[in-house]
């Protein structure tokens, strides 16, 4: 059996496709490929790089910070020409990114925050995203009535959206928050949201006009609860953030209560990171691509009025 294992390993290694001579070697590290948004970003970056004829090593940290750091370390040792971090953890991997910077390996991050050792972060302005959806939701309610909230404080983006919503609610006192569920767990989060929001919806049945969810995944769980409890489209407004084909399908679906989302262009961000690195490797100064630590992309509010057809995107 040991011989079998050795042979299998040898065969696997021998099957490694050789890189085109002189191709740019790009390492992409996605923090959690099982999260749709991370996968969309990383896969788009990979496709964009392969379109350029680059050799891509795509890694998944599977939500593990130690793995994340080790994978960046391994890419530095591999001698890649550039690195993209999708929803990475630059603060936790500071030592590894410093090693990359010391070897003059450019690193561009996507929705990861900034670091002195990376060039810039391709992102949307989460404060703007939070403001777009918050003001939109209150507008639908004519700034009167009660809402429920499904929050998540464990992610910088969703946390900011929640804080922005707090400010909007402070300024608009005609809308009251009847109940809030804060999602804590990251692994069994769907169960967490289901249990928490089901209880809130039952407790406040007939008293709320809208539900604010910090991201679409939460909103989908809530949508299913509302449909199961007999709510009809328009009876309750339900919003999220992220966008994606499932979000658009629900907005089109006459039975769904999912009303609107702010679609974040994850694919475009992955592509932008690769394009930026292409420019950097060609000698374009970083400041000509973006002057500051961020390269901001636009997020689009999508509702029934501008929802794209199946398979289409709003940009």
């Amino acid at each position: 059996m040991r011989t079998l294992v050795t042979l299998a390993a040898a065969a696997a290694i021998a099957l490694a496709a050789p890189a085109p001579a002189g191709a740019v070697k790009l390492g992409i590290v996605a923090f959690q490929m099982s999260a749709e948004t991370h996968a969309r970003t990383a896969n788009a970056a990979k496709a964009a790089a392969e379109d350029k004829g680059w050799e891509v090593t795509l890694l998944n940290s599977a939500g593990s910070v130690p793995d994340h750091a080790a994978q960046i370390e391994n890419l530095v040792q591999k001698g890649v020409d550039a690195i993209v971090l999708a929803m990475g953890k630059p603060l936790q991997a500071e030592a590894q990114l410093a090693a990359a910077a010391a070897k003059k390996i450019p690193v561009v991050t996507v929705m990861s925050g900034t670091s002195p050792h990376t060039l810039f972060d391709v992102t949307v302005n989460e404060f703007e995203v939070g403001a777009k959806i918050g003001v939109y939701l209150l507008g639908l309610m004519n700034y009167q009535g009660n809402i429920l909230m499904s929050r998540y404080e464990g992610h910088q983006g969703t946390k900011i959206r929640g804080r922005v919503m707090d400010i909007i609610l402070e300024e608009n006192t005609g809308v009251k928050v009847l109940g809030t569920h804060s999602m804590a767990r990251t692994q069994s989060w769907r169960e967490d949201v289901k249990a928490g929001m089901e209880a809130l919806i039952l407790r406040h049945a007939g008293q709320f006009r809208a539900i604010w969810a910090s991201f679409d995944g939460q909103a989908f769980v809530i949508d299913d609860i509302l449909q199961a409890q007999g709510y009809k489209k328009g009876q309750v407004f339900l919003t999220g953030v992220d966008g994606g084909q499932e979000a658009f399908r629900r907005i089109r679906d006459p039975n769904s209560l999912f009303t609107a989302t702010v679609a974040i262009p994850f694919e475009l961000m992955g592509e932008a990171a690769v394009d930026a690195l292409d420019d950097i490797l060609s000698g374009t100064p970083k400041n000509e691509i973006t002057p500051g630590p961020y390269l901001f992309m636009d997020a689009v509010l999508v509702d029934a009025n501008n929802v794209p057809a199946e398979g289409e995107w709003p940009w």
């Binding site: 390993a9 290694i13 090593t57 795509l58 370390e73 040792q77 990251t186």
Partner: protein, 315 residues
């Protein structure tokens, strides 16, 4: 010859694998890369040494990943609350040891199979970690001398490797040179005979589980220092790889039995394989498949011992 292959076949297979990687993977044998591989293996090995000790006593500790996380979170919370880091680290380690005591009491006093008891304690540890953090990571703000424990070096040797060396030497001395170590092995291999020989097997099993939790706690602290951060899932991923390392170790040196040298080899193979596959440009899912195959083959060698450890022999 057959006996030699039986004892050292896995070592030879590992050497063949490393030779193959050295031949095919660019930079695999670069001194800096080898240092990184050993450093990356050291975190897992610290945890896996404890897992091995529990298994030697005939018990399976499935809480190690979550206990490591709890130690990390307790330490980080106290550091962020302004407490001196030695006190914070002591508290983190104490929390881990307490989990070990609870595991031990559940298994020896209440006769709960270790598979169930440690799984439950792991879930409790996760709950406490989320209670402390609210799901949010502690990043930055760790004192430099604490961070140095994970990022510093002793000459060219990274400090995590030094901690592992000290732990391995201590564990080896305990197992090979003390009566307690002999009792540990006897309890795991033949509990009834050990009881008849006058060994307090309940006390020894409790000791095995406390040592396992202690090593997990140490792993959590070293990780926290190395990453200068903590989160409520920081070491949870280590359980499966820890098991894989120990199982792989059980196929060699003392085939069918948990042993420290084998465990060390197992962690080196896992870290080396991850590093080598990245250097070769394999995507993340190939690494998952490779790890799964290692576990599958290893379990084939160790099935009987594991079944007894999981569901209990005499206590």
């Amino acid at each position: 010859m057959n006996e030699f292959l039986g004892r050292y076949g896995t070592v030879l297979a590992a050497l063949a694998l490393f030779a193959l990687l050295a031949l095919l993977a660019p930079n695999f044998t670069a001194p800096m890369n080898l240092v990184n591989v050993v450093k990356q293996a050291s975190y897992l090995a610290i945890l896996a040494v404890g897992f091995t000790l529990a298994l030697l006593a005939g018990e399976l500790d499935l809480s190690v990943g979550q206990v490591a996380t709890l130690a990390s979170v307790v330490c980080a919370a106290l550091v962020f609350a302004g407490q001196p880091w030695p006190l914070a680290a002591f508290a983190g380690l104490s929390a881990a040891l307490l989990c070990g005591v609870v595991n031990g009491i559940a298994v020896t006093r209440f006769k709960i199979p270790s598979l169930i008891a440690t799984l439950a304690v792991g879930v409790i540890a996760t709950g406490i970690a989320f209670l402390i953090t609210g799901g949010v990571a502690y990043v930055g703000r760790f004192p430099a001398d604490f961070v140095a424990l994970g990022r510093g070096t002793l000459g060219p040797v990274p400090l995590p490797v030094v901690w592992l060396g000290l732990l391995l030497a201590t564990a080896w001395f305990l197992v090979e040179r003390t009566r307690t170590g002999a009792a540990l092995v006897a309890t795991g291999e033949a509990p009834e005979a050990a009881r008849l020989a006058g060994i307090d097997i309940a006390r020894i099993k409790l000791l095995g589980l406390v040592l396992s939790a202690g090593c997990a706690g140490l792993c959590g602290l070293v990780l926290t220092a190395a990453l200068a951060s903590s989160s409520p899932t920081i070491a949870n991923e280590f359980l499966m790889r820890g098991i894989a390392a120990v199982l792989l170790g059980m196929t060699t040196i003392e085939p069918g039995r948990p042993n420290l040298a084998g465990t060390l080899l197992g962690t080196l193979v896992i870290a080396g394989l991850g590093n080598g596959l990245t250097l070769l440009g394999f995507p993340y899912y190939v690494q998952d498949i490779a790890l799964g195959l290692i576990m599958l083959v290893s379990v084939g060698f160790s099935a009987r011992f594991l079944t007894e450890a999981a569901f209990g022999g005499a206590r």
